[in-house]
Symmetry: C2
Subunit: 212 residues, 2 copies
DNA sequence: TAGATTGTTAATCGATTAACAATC
DNA sequence: TAGATTGTTAATCGATTAACAATC
């Protein structure tokens, strides 16, 4: 049965489902049962059936799930087939790492432009993407439909940059700064943050706990 | 009352507590009530008191919590005062971004070395950190106590690299590759992964959902 | 003292797990 | 058909919220 409101616990698992199903598909696996998938992902079969049934009945009794079909369904749910566009603010080391190495395309995104204030970078192209001066952000956003802004700027200009992206009409901000973007600054724009420090400190806790 | 086993939900919130308390401390705030902290973090006062009481009674009735003291307690719990050492495997764009820009020190870590296979990098220093050839990893780990290995290598060598780190005696692996490191490959070594794609797809879901 | 706020116990809510009829 | 496995309902478990006596 399709549910109205999907819990965030389920949503957080969807990308993992996609990753595992994609892996299975690339290995040539045609079908899989909830039990087998559960084992390989470290979940329970019940949980997987519950999760998937939020979106529809993708399986078949006595058979299980068709891997390619299910991968496609999960991709659709995640919005991977909408060719969302993205721009990057900040072409420092981290920005460049994303531009050159992150598979935007494989995740359903098209990276269309990067912005930086460094004159040495402006005008160049990186991984096929043009780098413009940050002051041209507003006019660019005005002329192109951009769904997501990626924040790889210094923390000191994070909030201001987020506000400019929001004013320019983006729908989401992918935040790599260690600053929390106050929701009030950006209206209804959604933010997803990658807090490196939070992640490292979690690991720090885990190895500390080990020693009690 | 101190609890034996801390739930992972609580652990995941600890770094956020630290971040907010540090911010408050830098702004000169001396004391704060659970209610006020809750409001600024978007949690409930109840939840904050419950979370903190897992580790001890850090507050005072009628007063609240001393910000500096509480920040220190949370830092201790997270293991931030143990001067854990870390090495980075892979000095590509992402590795360099971490070496040059991530505040290891401020998070209680000392980055002691980087490893790469590129002859153009080996022998150089980056942000005060020496870069060695990856083949020297084992001898380095044998001679130095290293608590954490940071994985910023290509996915194709992720599992092998993780195994080498584990064999070398690290206690934790901070994984930036899009590969899930099978626990069996690394014994009791703890892994914390930063899955960029999972994060972006979560954002993709959020902006897609918006349109229903 | 009176007011504020904690730590903790109890109540509620939500998420995970178990069970099973439906059915391929 | 018999066996396998789903989708869904019910039971359990865990986490969040509410309430309040203790006390600074």
């Amino acid at each position: 049965m399709k549910k109205d409101k999907i819990s965030s616990a389920v949503i957080r698992r969807l990308p993992r489902y996609y990753r595992h199903l994609d892996e299975l598909h690339r290995k040539g696996t045609v079908r899989i049962s909830s039990g087998a998938l559960a084992k390989s992902m470290g979940l329970t079969a019940s949980q997987i059936r519950q999760d998937l049934s939020c979106f529809g009945g993708f399986g078949q009794q006595g058979y299980g799930y068709n891997v390619e079909r299910l991968r496609g369904e999960v991709a659709d749910i995640l919005g991977m087939n909408r060719a969302y566009t993205a721009v990057i603010l900040g072409a420092g080391n981290l920005g460049r790492a994303l531009i050159e190495n992150f598979p935007f395309q494989a995740n359903g995104f098209v990276l269309v432009a990067a912005f930086d204030v460094d004159p040495a970078l402006v005008g160049a192209r990186l991984g096929g993407v043009p780098i413009y001066h940050t002051r041209a952000l507003e006019s660019y956003l005005h002329e192109h439909r951009v769904n997501v802004g990626v924040l790889t700027v210094p923390g000191s200009v994070a909030v201001e940059s987020a506000r400019r992206l929001a004013n320019g009409g983006v729908e989401g901000i992918w935040n790599f700064t260690n600053i929390e973007i106050p929701q009030q600054e950006i209206g209804k724009v959604r933010v997803e943050s990658v807090h490196f420090a939070d992640s490292l400190l979690t690991l720090s806790y885990m190895i500390s706990e080990e020693r009690l």
